[in-house]
């Protein structure tokens, strides 16, 4: 081997025994330790999850979320205490400030004993905290809320937050799923009331949607009463597809409970429930007597709005001023 | 002429000792050995002759000297500065080729009447190694006055010379002297029937002992050889060893061959009736004692030095420990001299192949290093080639 420099190259650099490189690359113990700690692991697996061989069919994804999310923990004592504090000290004052709830019809349910199914119309995310804070005392802290399995239980964090704060349980909204229905039924038997929105989701345009049969099915199965509930005014506070909250006034009306009898067909019960909620809306818009009369004739205005009408007409009809919605009060009543 | 000389220099001996503890043969560089330009030795007497060495082997005892590990025992029976080398093939001035029998006994020293040993023909046991007209020295190669094989020239007494048979190569002839030692060791133990012999060490000595046992001792039916390195194993097998064992395997090998048992601490209940130790270390003697049967004989052919070992078995099992130095008349070979027997053996067993490498004098430190690690480096005997030395 020749030690001569290549032609054209400068003379070999004179080297100090200690070079900067050496100091940099070499050797402080701290650097070595840090280097060892920061060194990436030698190969990804087993430090990362294994890859899945293409030739092996994947089993259905591990079902820990969605309808399979286990909410038992949220009904154990520590979670209940936390939720009680949360409801009473946070949710209730906030609802009072933002939504100014006016409650009617509590007397209709005062005689009820034990768990019931509260079935309400649904226009806004505010509905749940609003209802939870206005539910009469025996039920307020013993109620689970049916939440859409696909919407509220799709990530662990969301599921955990909702299970803890509102005692949500996952429910399939478009079909009666055995798992979710059984669980809800079991909870009803155990003494938990259920708050459910039979429309299966918030109204897209302000009008109600036709009911899913789940609530009626549950009541029929467990023999528990369904309390129809009508909520009005939440849409203007926080409509769907909006992130902005405008404080407003809300009205919650509890209806007469529907007691399923043993021979009741859940389908009939569902129809009765839908009619009852429509009547409550009518009662809110007009007065109790008019509403009863129209209900008896079967001419209560449908919650679902004019059918067959163009989009603008539905919206137009929705915007018609009602007797009580003109309130501009911003502050809670004393 | 040029010669490799060992000087009496305490610092150099000490340096050699330290260096050789690190690596055997390292004494060749820092030790008492140096290449010098010296005058050829004068003839000590009228009947002496001048020799021009052709090949001169490196022996284990030479290595010990170079590495500063020789026993103090030798101090009074050597004279400094001496030229080492006692495995010599040389030309006489008359042009005949001889090998040198290096012992400097009474006859060589002009002592008349000779001592008892010399008188009985056992010149190697001479009692007058410091007497006569010569300076002290047990062999050629350890005496300043006669020179040695690692040089361009030396002097010798005619009684020391053995003619090399015609047609022999120098390479074969240089093995006659070490083979004579092997023959002497192999024929030293007592005879018996269907004996198992153990040969510890498979360097030049071990291999020549194996060859001698195999060809000269019909009473020995099995030879277990202890060898470390592949070349040694191969050679030992081809020279007649029936079983080769690594040092750690020796006890089990002897147990199998002799049908004895092994007790808890590894000692055998029986063992071999003849053990020939060609290494001369504490380990080799311990192994020898461990595998020697009750009443057996251990022959030490390798130069031992200081050894520290438990001699209880020697006592309890009546084991005899015998030395075998150099060469002499061999009663077991009909009283012929070891050299004569060795000349036949070298030819019969083809021992010429034991010579693995030769070096010129100026590459002496390489030669010493090679010889000191011969087994590991796949070699057996290493020698100096002096055929190109200038004769002045």
């Amino acid at each position: 081997m020749s030690e001569r420099p290549l032609p054209g190259a400068g003379p070999p650099e004179k080297r100090l025994p200690v070079t900067m490189e050496r100091i940099r690359s070499g050797a402080t113990p701290a650097r070595r330790v840090a280097g060892r700690l920061l060194k990436p692991p030698p190969s990804p697996f087993p430090y990362t999850s294994p890859t899945w061989p293409d030739s092996v069919p994947r089993p259905p994804a591990p079902r820990e979320l969605g309808v399979d999310y286990d909410t038992d923990w949220a009904r154990r004592y520590p979670a209940r205490v936390a939720r009680l504090l949360l409801t009473e000290l946070v949710a209730k004052p906030m609802v009072a400030v933002l939504a100014d709830p006016h409650v009617a019809g509590e007397d209709r349910i005062a005689h009820l004993d034990g768990p019931v199914v509260f079935a309400a119309n649904h226009a806004s995310h505010i509905d749940t905290p609003l209802l939870l804070s206005v539910l009469p005392e025996p039920w307020r802290h013993r109620t689970v809320v049916a939440g859409a399995a696909d919407y509220f239980f799709d990530t662990k964090l969301k599921a955990a937050v909702l299970a803890l704060s509102i005692n949500a349980i996952p429910i399939e909204r478009r079909r009666v799923s055995r798992t979710s229905a059984n669980r809800a039924a079991a909870l009803l038997q155990e003494g938990w009331s259920l708050l459910i929105f039979p429309e299966g989701g918030r109204s897209p345009d302000g009008w109600g949607q036709s009911h899913q049969p789940g609530a009626a099915w549950l009541a029929a199965r467990t023999g528990r009463a369904i309390v129809p509930v009508h909520v009005e005014g939440t849409r203007s506070i926080l409509p769907r597809h909006s992130g902005r909250i405008r404080p407003g006034t809300t009205h919650v009306t509890f209806g007469r409970p529907l007691q399923p009898s043993s021979g009741d067909n859940p389908r009939d019960l569902a129809a009765k429930l839908e009619a009852a909620v429509s009547a409550l809306a009518d009662e809110h818009d007009t007065d109790w007597w008019t509403a009863r009369q129209r209900a008896a004739r079967g001419t209560s205005p449908g919650l679902t709005g004019p059918s067959g009408a163009g989009t603008w007409r539905r919206t137009w009809a929705l915007g018609a001023p009602t007797r009580r919605s003109a309130s501009t009060r911003r502050w809670p009543k004393p | 002429m040029r010669a490799l000389q060992v000087e009496r220099s305490l610092p150099r001996f000490a340096a050699a000792r330290v260096a050789s503890a690190w690596r055997a043969g390292a004494g060749g560089k820092v030790g008492p050995l140096r290449l010098a330009d010296v005058d050829p030795p004068d003839l000590p007497g009228a009947d002496w002759v001048r020799l021009r060495p052709r090949l001169s082997g490196i022996c284990g005892s030479d290595l010990a000297t170079v590495d500063g590990r020789s026993s103090q025992w030798f101090r009074p029976i050597v004279t400094f500065p001496f030229v080492p080398g006692h495995e010599i093939v040389a030309d006489t001035e008359e042009g005949s080729r001889v090998v040198v029998e290096p012992v400097l006994g009474c006859a060589v020293r002009g002592i008349d009447p000779p001592c008892n040993a010399c008188a009985s023909g056992h010149g190697h046991r001479c009692e007058r190694l410091t007497g006569g007209h010569l300076a002290p020295g047990l062999q050629t190669g350890f005496c300043a006055e006669v020179g040695g094989g690692w040089s361009g020239a030396l002097v010798a007494h005619p009684t020391q010379l053995h003619e090399v048979p015609g047609g022999w190569s120098d390479e074969a002839a240089v093995l006659i002297e070490p083979t004579a030692c092997g023959v002497h060791g192999a024929l030293a133990g007592p005879t018996g029937d269907d004996q198992v012999a153990v040969v510890i060490g498979a360097g030049t000595l071990g291999l020549t002992v194996i060859a001698a046992l195999n060809r000269l001792r019909p009473d020995i039916s099995r030879i277990i050889a202890v060898a470390k390195h592949p070349v040694q194993k191969e050679m030992a097998t081809s020279l007649g060893a029936t079983m080769i064992a690594a040092p750690a395997e020796l006890r089990r090998a002897v147990r199998r061959a002799t049908g004895s048992w092994i007790l808890d601490n590894g000692q055998l209940t029986g063992g071999a009736s003849l053990v020939i130790d060609c290494v001369g270390s504490t380990e080799s003697l311990s192994d020898a004692l461990a595998v020697a049967a009750p009443g057996a004989t251990i022959v030490m052919v390798g130069m031992p030095g200081h050894i520290s070992t438990d001699l209880t078995p020697l006592w309890q099992r009546e084991i005899r420990l015998a030395g075998a130095y150099a060469y002499g008349p061999e009663p077991m070979a009909g009283g012929r001299h070891s050299f004569a027997v060795a000349i036949d053996l070298v030819a019969q067993a083809g021992l010429e192949r034991l010579l693995s490498a030769t070096y010129t004098l100026d590459r002496h430190s390489e030669a010493i290093a090679h010889a000191a690690s011969a087994g590991r480096r796949g070699a057996v005997k290493v020698a100096f080639d002096l055929r190109t030395e200038k004769r002045r």
Binding site: F45, P46, T51 | -
Partner: protein
Amino acid sequence: MPRPGFVLEVDRSTPPILTWHGEGFRLERLPPERSRVIYAPEPVAALDDPDQAIQDALLAPLGDSPPLPDLLRAGMRLTIAFDDISLPLPPMQRPDNRQRVIEAVLEMAASAGVDDVVLICALALHRRMTEAELRHAIGDRVYDSFAPHGLLLQHDAEDPDGLVHLGQTDKGEDVEINKRAAESDLIVYVNINLVAMDGGHKSVATGLASYRSLRHHHNVKTMRHSRSFMDQHNSELHTSNWRMGRLIAASGVKVFQIETTLNNDAFPKPMAFLQKREWEWSGRDRAAYIATTKGLGRTPPKLARSIFQSIKAPHAMTGVFAGEVEAVHAATTDAVYAQQLVSVEGQTDVAVFGLPHICPYNVNSIMNPILVMCMGLGYLFNLYRGKPIVRQGGVAILSHPTPWAFHPVHHPSYIDFFEEVLSETTDPIEIEKTYEERFATDEWYRHLYRTSHAYHGVHPFYMWYWGAHALEHLGDVIIVGGEPAAVRRLGFSPASTLTDALEMASDTVGRHPTISHFHCPPIMLADVS
């Protein structure tokens, strides 16, 4: 529902595959598109109530045997023989199947008023078991009732006064078995059928036999014609044992055989990843793997060995069959197959076997190089039915550290076999011809076998014969990670990594060979079509 065995075709998205490596394991990436991994079936369900199942089996035996209580009467000589330390692997958590069965048998013997009962450990030429090992196998109750009175014996194949020659089979095979057993009115044999090779007539005809009798089937010729010895219908080893077993029956020796089967749940919970498919490893599995391998990397080999040897398998009993030997064994074999069979299509050029820390002959001991050979080429290679998973002339790659280490008490003749015999030749025929007799009759080995805990002098030869079929079949054997000197002494080639080994294999089987990775343990039996 446990999943059956599975053959994975390796592709680019296949994670590295767990490969056993003695007291440890490695993750090895296999070449995609031409490799496959053979996975064992998952452990089948255990019996709900093993003790009840044993009762049922004893009361309703198979074949033409009356129920056990009908065979027991006061004044009779009863000998209960049981399998030794080599089964199961790893040793199972207490209670061992043998304990359950022997206790059930003894209950019945007690109620029948049988006084003359002797227990014999049917160890053939294996080492004697220690007290602790016996206690583990048959339980403290049984041990304490029999051992102090000298009624718990270990078979001694070298006791001239303890053997009886029953005659020769029509093929001239000597049948010589334990005298006490042969002269009993009834032998109850209690077995654990871990693999398909165990049990049947092999229990008595091998377990209680002498060297003189064993050499007729424990030899190179028989083993080369046992293809494989795990498939009794194609195994010369079994044919010979069956001839002997029938002769034993014809000589009036009555055997009531009780065979038990286990599932292949071989490792306790924390090591569950060892029997999982890699892509199904959970975070916990990966953490356990990393912690174990990192820990083992810092553990001295000796300590690692004792840790691994202390593993007790959560094996569970899956079946118990009692009655006439052949009828029982047919049922047992079906149960073993149900747990272990994996169907595999065709052979490959190369087979990769990761060798675990244990084989039948190093329980509480050291897996020496000869046992490495026996485990790889004897056991794992022969875990097939039909054809070997590697083609004729193919290459077997074993993964094991193969230390040059022997247990001085258990394997004294192995050391000599390794030092003397293998340094001369590795050809089984040559070894058998030149050395077997000397080792078999060596006084010292005989002494150690009879009085200490040593395998018989001839046992290492049998280990070598066990691999004789594989040695004849294979083109080359490579040991990954093996100590080079020891591997070379075995006549194999050492490689430092699997990649190197595959590269070396290409000299024999060409570029781009097809590869099978036999993901064992847990134990399985490849049904190769």
